[in-house]
Symmetry: C2
Subunit: 542 residues, 2 copies
C-alpha cells in the first residue's frame, strides 16, 4: 500500500479515538437525564442517576473481590432490575457477563458454569431448585451472590453467603470504572440452547454490542424516552441488546418476572409502554387474552417479533388489539436481531393475505450489519434472487460474534469462506428480501427433491383443527426420506390423519404431502423450540 499524505502525522490518540462500548451510553443518560425513570419494577422506581450509581457499585464490589478483565460472571436472573444492573456493572469491572437460561436443567447449567469458568454467580432465589444441584455438579466454585427480589414471593432458599443488596452496598457509587482497553474485548457470553451436543458459548464484544444497540434505535424508530416492557428474556442474546439500547435514548425499562397477559396489559396501560419484543407465544397471549385481562392501550404499541414468521391471523389480531408488528430475524451468533422486515409504505395497499406474505419474509440486513445473503454453501456463490432457489443464509459484519469460546473447530466451521454460516436455509426474493425455508438439518430430501419442513407445517397450520405441527424426515427405503408430521390439535377439535393428508394434498405437490401423521404433544426445549431431533427418533421408530 502506497503511503499518502493522509498517512502521516494523523494517528490515533486519546483525544480522537475511544473504544466503542455500550457502557458509555449509561454514563451519558445518567449525566443528561439523571432524574428520568430508568427502571420500573412493581412499586419500585429507579432513576438513571440511581441505576448508574448501582452499576458502579456492582463494578466496584466485583473489583474488590478480584474480578477483572476476562473473568466470567454468570447470572441466573429473571427480567429484574438486577439483570439490567448486571448488563452494565459486570462489564464495567472488565468482566464478561454470562446470562444463564433460567429454563435449563442442572446438568447443562453446571456445564455452562464450568465451560465459562465462572468466578461469580448471581442467582435469583426462585431458581435455587435448579442452581443448587448445578453448583454441586459443577467443578468450579464461584462466589455465589443471592438476589432476593421483593417482587418474588415464592419458594426458594439462598445458596450463597452474600446478599446482592449487601454486595452492592459494599461497592463505591462513584467508582472510576475503566472503558474497555479494546473494543474487541468480550462483553458477554451466551450459550446456545444446543439442540444437539453441548451448548456452544457465543462471545460478544463491546463494539458489536454498541453498534447493535444503536441499530435497534434506528430500526425500531425509537424516539427519546421510550417505555420498554421486558417480555423478551434478557438471558436470550442479552435481550437483543435492548438493555443497552434503552440508555441511548434514556428510555424506561419496565421489568416483568413472568409473561402473563394481564400483567402485560396492566404494564402497558399503567406505564404507557411504547415498545416490546417477544416470540410468537407472547403475541398469542396478547390476542387471546380474556376481557378481564385486557386494558385499553394508551396509544399504538410497537411489537418486535422473531423466531417464526407471524401468521396472517396473528397479524390481524395484533393490529386489531393495537400493536404494530415488526418481524425481525437473527441468531444468538448475531447479537439477536440482525435482519429486519423493512416495511414499504406502498405495501399497505396490498390485500391482507398479500401483506401477511410480505411480513412473513425475514427481510434485509440491519443497518450495522455489512452483508446478508443466501449462498450455495458448496460454491459460496449467491443463489439467484428468484424466491425459489434454496441456499444457506449467511451473515458478515460487526454484529457477528467473535466466535465460540474454547471451541476453535466450531468457530472455524462457522466462519468458513469469510461468512457466518447460519445453518438456516432460505431463498432470496427478486427485491433482495430473504425468506427462511428451513434449518439445514431439518430439510427433507425425498426422491432427490428438497422438501422444506416449514412449507409442509404451514399447510398443516392452515387447517382449523391444528394447534401446532412439526414435520421431520422419516427414513424410507424407496424415497430416501419422506415427510412425517407430528400434530397437536386444538382443544375439543377432532380430525383424522387421512383428513389431514387429504388437506395437504390440496395445496402441496404430491411428494411434499406427509406419508404419516402422528397426534402427540410436541417435545420442546427450555426456550420453547420444538426438539426435532426427538421427533426424528420417533419417526424412525414408526
Amino acid at each position: 500500500m502506497t503511503t499518502t499524505i493522509y498517512d502521516q502525522g494523523l494517528d490515533r490518540n486519546p483525544a480522537n479515538f475511544q473504544p466503542l462500548t455500550p457502557l458509555s451510553f449509561l454514563e451519558r443518560a445518567a449525566t443528561v437525564f439523571p432524574d428520568h425513570v430508568a427502571v420500573i419494577h412493581g412499586s419500585l422506581r429507579r432513576s438513571y442517576r440511581d441505576l448508574y450509581a448501582r452499576a458502579r457499585r456492582l463494578a466496584s464490589a466485583l473489583a474488590r473481590h478480584g474480578i477483572g478483565r476476562g473473568d466470567t460472571v454468570a447470572v441466573m436472573l429473571a427480567n429484574t432490575p438486577a439483570m439490567i444492573e448486571c448488563h452494565y456493572g459486570v462489564p464495567m469491572s472488565g468482566a464478561v457477563l454470562n446470562t444463564l437460561n433460567t429454563r435449563l436443567d442442572p446438568a447443562i447449567l453446571a456445564f455452562c458454569l464450568d465451560h465459562g469458568e465462572a468466578k461469580v454467580l448471581i442467582t435469583d432465589r426462585e431458581f435455587a431448585r435448579v442452581m443448587a444441584p448445578a453448583l454441586q455438579q459443577a467443578k468450579v466454585t464461584p462466589l455465589v451472590i443471592d438476589y432476593d427480589d421483593p417482587e418474588y414471593a415464592g419458594e426458594g432458599q439462598r445458596l450463597g453467603t452474600i446478599d446482592y443488596e449487601d454486595f452492592l452496598a459494599s461497592g463505591d457509587p462513584d467508582h472510576a470504572w475503566a472503558m474497555p482497553g479494546d473494543e474487541w474485548d468480550a462483553i458477554s457470553l451466551n450459550y446456545t440452547s444446543g439442540t444437539t451436543g453441548d451448548p456452544k458459548g457465543v462471545v460478544y464484544h463491546h463494539r458489536g454490542a454498541a453498534l447493535l444497540a444503536v441499530g435497534n434505535v434506528v430500526t425500531g424508530t425509537l424516539g427519546k424516552h421510550p417505555v420498554y416492557l421486558w417480555t423478551l428474556p434478557m438471558f436470550h442474546c442479552n435481550g437483543w441488546c435492548f438493555p443497552w439500547t434503552l440508555s441511548v435514548v434514556a428510555g424506561t425499562h419496565v421489568c416483568l418476572r413472568q409473561v402473563r397477559a394481564k400483567a402485560m396489559y396492566d404494564a402497558i396501560a399503567d406505564h404507557g409502554v411504547t415498545h416490546l419484543c417477544g416470540a410468537p407465544i407472547v403475541m398469542s397471549l396478547l390476542i387471546n387474552a380474556s376481557d378481564a385481562e385486557r386494558r385499553p392501550l394508551p396509544h399504538r404499541v410497537a411489537f418486535f417479533t422473531a423466531a417464526a414468521p407471524p401468521p396472517e391471523a396473528v397479524l390481524a389480531g395484533m393490529a386489531e388489539a393495537g400493536f404494530d408488528v415488526t418481524h425481525l430475524y437473527g441468531l444468538t451468533e448475531t447479537y439477536g436481531p440482525a435482519v429486519v422486515n423493512e416495511w414499504h409504505a406502498d405495501w399497505d395497499a396490498l390485500t391482507k393475505p398479500e401483506q401477511a406474505a410480505r411480513k412473513a419474509r425475514q427481510g434485509v440486513r440491519y443497518p450495522p450489519l455489512e452483508a446478508l445473503d443466501v449462498l450455495d454453501p458448496e460454491t459460496m456463490r449467491p443463489v439467484p434472487a428468484d424466491g425459489e432457489t434454496l441456499g444457506e443464509v449467511m451473515f458478515r459484519g460487526n454484529v457477528v460474534m467473535r466466535g465460540y469460546l474454547k471451541n476453535p473447530k466450531s468457530t472455524q466451521a462457522a466462519f468458513a469462506g469469510g461468512w457466518f454460516h447460519s445453518g438456516d436455509l432460505g431463498v432470496k426474493h427478486p427485491d433482495g428480501y430473504i425468506q427462511l425455508k428451513d434449518r439445514s438439518k431439518d430439510i427433507i430430501i425425498s426422491g432427490g427433491e428438497n422438501i422444506s419442513s416449514i412449507e409442509v407445517e404451514e399447510a398443516l397450520f392452515k387447517h382449523p383443527a391444528v394447534a401446532a405441527a412439526a414435520v421431520v424426515a422419516k427414513p424410507d427405503e424407496k424415497w430416501g426420506e419422506t415427510p412425517c408430521a407430528f400434530v397437536e390439535l386444538k382443544a375439543s377439535e377432532m380430525v383424522s390423519a387421512e383428513e389431514l393428508i387429504a388437506w395437504c394434498r390440496q395445496s402441496l405437490a404430491g411428494y411434499k404431502v406427509p406419508k404419516h401423521v402422528v397426534f402427540t404433544e410436541l417435545p420442546k426445549t427450555s426456550t420453547g423450540k420444538i426438539q426435532k431431533f426427538v421427533l426424528r427418533e420417533m419417526a424412525k421408530a414408526i
Copy 2:
C-alpha cells in the same frame, strides 16, 4: 495484560469485522428502498437506485483516471445533486473529498488546492469567476471537471475539458467499489477559515463520519424517510454529515442552490420537508419572510441551528412559524455538531425567557462523543460546575478529527493533554450543560461563517494610511455578528471609513468586509497587546 480465555481463538476475520464507513449506508438504502426518492432538485427526482448507480459511476470514472486511496478530489459546488454524489462517489474510489467553501477568494482557494494536493477539481459553472484565477495561482494542475447545473441560469464559463455528466457516463454503474481498507482511512478534508495564518486542513475518517451520521439520527429523532432541506452548505463540515445521515433512514434530500425565504417555504410545502439545519441567518429569513413569500407548513418542522445561541425573540418567532428549534454546537474539528442542547420535557413549563436561557446553552455531548468538558487549559482539570468559572471547552472521542493535514505542530497543540482544545471559552452549569461565554477572541461569526479578524486586520494594514487596526465582532440582528474595525491612522494621513471599506472589498470576500470603521486610539495592555474585550464593548455600544 494477562491473557484470558477470551483472548484465544476469537480473532477478527472477514465474517465478523468490517470497517465502519457511511458508504455502506447508501448501498443498503439503494438495496432496500431502490424506488424511494433520494434527491429532489427543481423538477428533477432521483431514486436511491439512481443515486447509488451515479455514485458508483463517479467512483469508477475516477478510478479510470488513476484516482485512488489517499488522493484528494476537491469540489467547488453549491447544494446540488452532484455534491451529494461526491460525498459517496469520491470516497468509494478511495479518494478524499475536499469540499471548498464557495465564498472564499481565489488566493485562499489556490492555497487549499495546493495544500491538499488536489488531483481532481469538480467545479460548478457559477464559481468560474473565482475558480479561474484560483487555478491560475495554484501550483497543482488538477483534472478539472465542470458541473453545469440545469437549475443555474446565471453567468460563468467552463474551466475544464470534461463535463460532469460526460464524466459520469464514462463510469460503470455496477462498479465494484471497495470498502475502506481501514476505518481510520481519510474520507474528507475540510479547511478551516483560519483564525490566524493559513487555513488548516481538518481530516475526517470513515469511522467518525459513520458514527456522527448515525448520531444525527439518534439526536434528531429522525424516523424512516425524513425529507431534508439543504439550507446548510454541504461544504461546511460535510453538511454536518447529513449527506450520509439521510441514507441511514432512506430520506429525501431537497437541494437548494440559494437560501431564500420563498424557496424554503415552497420546498417545505411542496415536498413535505421534515428537517433542516442552518445558521441563525436562516431563521431570520424564515421569520422575517413576507406574506407573499410564506406558505403554510404541512406539519411542524425540526430546525437544527448552531453557531450562535438562538435569542428569545427568534425562538418565539420560529415556534409561531411552525418550527421546533434544537440548538447544536461543534467545530469543523468535531465533524460539525458534537454537542446538543438536550431538551427536558419539564422545561416546557418554564417561562419563555427561562426557556430561552436554557436553549441558549450549548448542552451536552452527542451520543457518539466520549467526553465533553470545560477544563482549565493550564492544569487540564475540569472547572467547577457552577455556571460561572470560565475554562476552555474540550472534546474527546471518535467524532474528533484525525488532525490537521501536513501540520503536525498544530495537530499536537490541538490534542495536548489528551483532549481536543476548541479554543472556545465556556462554563459548566450545575446540571453539566456547557455554555459558551466567549468565542476565541479573534473569531467573528457572520451568517454562520467564521471570519478571522486577523485576516481583515491584515487587509486594513495594507492601506498606506493605516497605523494600527483591530477587528472585533459587533452583534447584529440579521447576521449574528459583523466585523467592526477600529483603526489608528498614521500621523498626517487622512482616509474615510467609506474609503477603507472599499479598500477591503478589493481583497476580501464580501462578508469579511467591515460594516463599521471607527477611528480611535487602540486600548492596550501594559505589554502592548490590544485589549479586544474593550473594543467589543465599544462595538456593542455603536
